[in-house]
């Protein structure tokens, strides 16, 4: 298979397979959650569930002072690589083009210099986060093979994207194909791993806020 054929495959059938598995997987998992339902709360309410739920979806992103003091590294490093990922993925022109093709929506892109810096910062932070996970007693205890797999699946697109952009490693068509393939791997694994938190986080936060607001406490 020539390089261009490989690239055409990942842009074609490969993408299709990955998308189908990703979409189907996410829909099934979210359905599995919602269709379990929950019992109605019969106690006298002190506050609104909907308001509380919506509030917590946003407010949980801002830690309180003592939590920030106690979990500083986790919070700061988590934000750095998430924001870095967000900038790199969402503001690089070719990526925006992809979204436009799929959904019709697009927005302005940022200069490649910023994207480049963002990718580098994310990669470095992810490496530091991994080291922390391996050394911290609680994290080492909690971590499963799934956590490490997810780390790898997250950092590979960043590294291969960086390499493709900077012409490091293999020739351009091959590197670009590998970059796209790494994202397809991420998509395929997504519904089977903790990456689902991207979709279930708002649900969990909503429940948390709703339950707490019912009792009159903003969580």
């Amino acid at each position: 298979m020539s390089e261009i054929e490989f690239l055409s495959w990942v842009r074609g059938p490969g993408f299709e397979i990955a998308t189908i598995i990703f979409v189907a997987g996410v829909v099934i998992r979210v359905s599995e959650i919602f269709l379990l339902g929950r019992k109605k709360n019969l106690a006298e309410a002190k506050g609104s569930e909907m308001k509380g739920g919506l509030h917590t979806i946003l407010s949980r992103s801002i830690p309180d002072k003592s939590t920030l003091q106690r979990s500083t590294f986790k919070i700061v490093s988590g934000y750095i690589f998430h924001i870095g990922l967000f900038i790199t993925i969402c503001f690089f022109a070719p990526h925006i083009l992809l979204v436009k093709e799929l959904t019709g929506i697009s927005w302005p892109s940022l200069p490649t210099a910023i994207i480049d810096a963002s990718a580098v910062v994310s990669i470095i932070t992810l490496v530091v986060v991994l080291i922390h996970r391996l050394r911290n007693t609680v994290l080492k205890f909690l971590s499963t093979s799934g956590d490490y797999l997810v780390w790898l699946l997250t950092i590979l697109p960043l590294i291969t994207g960086y390499m493709a952009f900077h012409r490091i490693g293999m020739s351009a068509p091959s590197m670009l194909a590998i970059h796209i393939l790494s994202i397809e791997l991420l998509l395929v694994a997504f519904p089977f791993t903790k990456l689902m938190h991207a979709f279930t986080l708002p649900i969990a936060r909503w429940y948390n806020g709703a339950i707490s607001a019912y009792r009159g406490v903003e969580s």
Partner: protein, 388 residues
């Protein structure tokens, strides 16, 4: 163009150039330009000049198979008398369908005679792909392309595949490849060990076909000066230049169009033409969104350009087709940007979501069922049930 071979065969290249009226100064200028293009240091210029001076006009046999003659057109485009053309005249082009004067049996005789006389020393240039599904798709004088190639390659000192068809299969190789078109490399890989009946019993093949140096000069067509640059290198050093993983000379195919494109600053700033006639297009912004394959294409178009450095496709406002890459015809559409999938993803996603929703409902029903069972199976826990 075609000068009687026999007279010029013993003249050196230097003689030939002087007889064409090329001054020493022009000649040295050409050598300097060639050196810089080949990424050779200026100290090499005298060596190039000397070598070219003394070089005996090598015999070149040019085989054209399933091709459109575009490569020849590109090379011989002589709207002005260029050095390249003259150099071209300074090789002994002993066989070329379009350019030779002879035809029919006389032409074939010219080929076999040239082979016999220069056995082991002639250069074999190939353009066009070689069909393998049915040899009848392309024959010359009743001989299949494959047989002619193998026979001629047996005594060649080196093989140069010119144009994307010979290099990678090109247009004929595009889906569904009805003729079973092969590139030169493919042929060598598959048939390289085949025993070939030589054109004359005394002439034994000078080495395995698989071991012969092959230079790949792709492009649809390739840039003229790239050909002559390669030839010059061969003439000067008697060896092939440094090649990349696809057999292309790194001097010309070492960087991608994207990395040398003058519109790159627009890409980096995020300024793109959205259509062929919008403001961005008029301002000369990056053509990525219009499907430019510059990022994945290795060639010298962005620096060397075409028609003596006049322009190249991107400069003229058209995205790069990626014509020096294998399978560029099947590369997902000329006007589809590289980051866009080549199939209807949105459609696939919707089907997947619909199917999954159904599956989700089914699973949800299963879950609910299970919970119902746990509730019905649950016996009230009393204080007697707290200990085993």
């Amino acid at each position: 163009m075609m000068i009687d071979n026999k007279n010029l065969k013993d003249k050196t290249l230097g003689d030939a150039l002087r007889s064409q009226g090329i001054s020493r100064r022009s000649f040295l200028k050409f050598c300097a330009a060639t050196a810089s293009m080949m990424a050779l240091p200026p100290s090499m210029i005298p060596a190039i000049a000397e070598a070219l001076e003394k070089a005996k006009k090598p015999s070149v046999i040019w085989l054209s198979f399933q091709e459109c003659t575009g490569c020849t057109e590109s090379l011989t485009r002589a709207h002005t008398a260029t050095i390249e053309n003259l150099i071209f005249d300074s090789i002994s082009l002993d066989y070329h369908h379009t350019l030779q004067a002879a035809s029919g049996e006389a032409a074939e005789e010219a080929r076999t005679e040239a082979m016999k006389e220069n056995w082991g020393e002639y250069l074999l240039v190939v353009d066009g792909s070689i069909p393998t599904k049915d040899m009848g798709y392309s024959t010359i004088a009743g001989m299949s392309n494959l047989d002619m190639f193998l026979e001629t390659a047996a005594g060649a000192a080196a093989i140069i595949s010119v144009g994307t068809c010979a290099a990678f299969g090109g247009i004929p190789h595009a889906n569904p490849n009805p003729t079973g078109a092969y590139s030169v490399h493919d042929i060598i890989k598959q048939y390289g060990d085949r025993e070939v009946e030589g054109i004359s019993p005394e002439l034994v093949s000078n080495g395995r076909l698989a071991d012969k140096p092959v230079i790949t000069v792709p492009g649809c067509p390739p840039i003229p000066v790239v050909i002559t640059g390669v030839l010059t290198h061969y003439l000067t050093f008697g060896a092939i230049p440094e090649l990349d993983h696809l057999g292309r000379p790194k001097a010309f195919y070492g960087s991608s169009i994207h990395d040398r494109c003058y519109r790159r600053p627009f890409y980096d700033k995020g300024l793109f033409a959205e259509t062929f006639d919008d403001e961005g297009a008029k301002k000369g912004w990056c053509l990525y969104k219009l499907g430019c394959k510059g990022p994945t294409t290795y060639n010298a178009c962005a620096t060397t350009k075409w028609n003596n450095g006049t322009s190249f496709p991107i400069e003229s406002g058209h995205p790069c087709l990626g014509c020096s890459e294998p399978d560029f015809w099947d590369g997902g559409g000329f006007y589809k940007a590289l980051s866009i999938p080549t199939v209807d993803i949105a459609g696939a996603a919707i089907y997947a979501a619909a199917g999954a929703a159904a599956a989700g409902v089914a699973l949800g029903a299963l879950n609910k069922n299970k919970k119902q069972k746990t509730i019905s199976e649950h016996s009230k826990t009393t204080i007697d049930d707290l200990e085993k």
